[in-house]
């Protein structure tokens, strides 16, 4: 059965760490980093990349449009 895998790429410098993507993710993929970017924000990252199905929800709610999403079917 075909399975869908996704990946989220966050522009760490553009991210303001608002956390809306973490809240919007239905598969518990994202977290805010303990580290901060050069502007002092805890940028988001994929804590559980294996869970991502590339649904784009995180990107859709991101106010800073710093999320790019990839998706592919895997056998």
């Amino acid at each position: 059965m075909a399975k869908v895998r996704g990946a989220v790429v966050v522009d760490n410098e553009e991210c303001k760490g608002c956390g809306l993507c973490v809240e919007a993710c239905p598969h518990d993929v994202l977290r805010l980093n303990r580290e901060v970017n050069s502007r002092g924000y805890h940028y988001s990252y994929m804590e559980n990349p294996g869970n991502c199905i590339g649904c784009s929800n995180c990107g859709v709610v991101c106010p800073d449009t710093c999320i790019t999403i990839y998706r592919m079917k895997v056998e």
Binding site: G19, S56, V60
Partner: protein
């Protein structure tokens, strides 16, 4: 499977619109403005309207909207965006003109301009960001501030005897025969953003079809002004703003139709 096998151009499903400029927005983390800007930029790009579009920016937090979307813009005086848009569209009827205004701009200082532009049925799109507070000047009371809501000029909560009542201006706008499509949306969840984008798309279609004024209110958060985290602000909005400002279409018709469902 490795991530690098996944992150390839052929697998790209979501990325920044080409019309969104490569500059960080000045908005606070989690601000709804960014989401609405993005939706607008995506629609202008997808509908091929870049050369036709003139945006009118307001005074308020979104005063710099013109820095973020790659189209021609005019910056209006506080509250006057609908008059500026009227001027542009009357002498350029082939253009797609929209205003982008906050609640202080549209529902307080610019009440006359928005009422009359909508009443004349100007062929423009109005995006109305309602977060119940003045963001840019530091969180003062807006006409749309809820009863009891704490702001920097209502530190003990909005008292209707002193400050009057929260203004449901979109309900008033929906009564005007010049409008074609009047709706209230939000952008706090992925579903809401997608729904809002559909509504704005429909509003733009109406403007292009010269059906009259289209008016899209977006109930929004101002987490800095509300003094909450972005996530908490979304929940607070759902619990407190939506009961008073219920989401949904208020009018879906054409200009001049007085029998429209209001």
């Amino acid at each position: 499977m490795e991530l690098k096998d996944l992150i390839k151009p052929e697998n790209l499903v979501y990325s920044k619109s080409a019309l969104l400029e490569d500059v960080p927005m000045h908005y606070c983390p989690g601000c709804s403005h960014g989401v609405v800007h993005k939706v607008l930029a995506e629609l202008i790009e997808e509908m091929g309207l870049q050369e036709k579009t003139v945006g009118v920016a307001p005074v308020g937090c979104s005063v710099f909207a013109y820095n973020y979307i790659d189209i021609d813009w005019q910056e209006a005086a506080h509250g006057r965006a609908p008059a500026v848009a009227t001027g542009i569209v009357r002498v350029n009827p082939d253009k797609f003109v929209f205003t982008y205004q906050g609640d202080g701009d549209l529902a307080s200082i610019g009440t006359a301009e928005i009422m009359h532009a909508c009443n004349r049925g100007e062929n423009i799109l109005v995006i109305f960001i309602n977060n119940g507070i003045y963001g840019m000047t530091g969180g003062q009371m807006a006409p749309t501030t809820l009863e009891g809501m704490v702001t920097s000029t209502t530190p003990f909560g909005r008292n209707v005897d002193l400050n009057g009542y929260p203004l449901k201006i979109t309900e008033l706008i929906a009564q005007l025969p010049g409008t074609s499509y009047v709706t209230r949306q939000s952008v706090e969840t992925p579903g809401a953003v997608r729904k809002c984008k559909k509504a704005i798309k429909k509003a733009i279609d109406n403007v292009l079809a010269k059906k009259g004024t289209s008016f899209v209110e977006v109930v929004s958060t101002c987490n800095s002004g509300w003094k909450m985290t972005p996530v908490d602000a979304n929940h607070w909005m759902q619990e407190n703003m939506f009961p008073f400002y219920p989401l949904g279409d208020m009018k879906d018709s054409v200009k001049g139709d007085n029998n429209a469902k209001n």
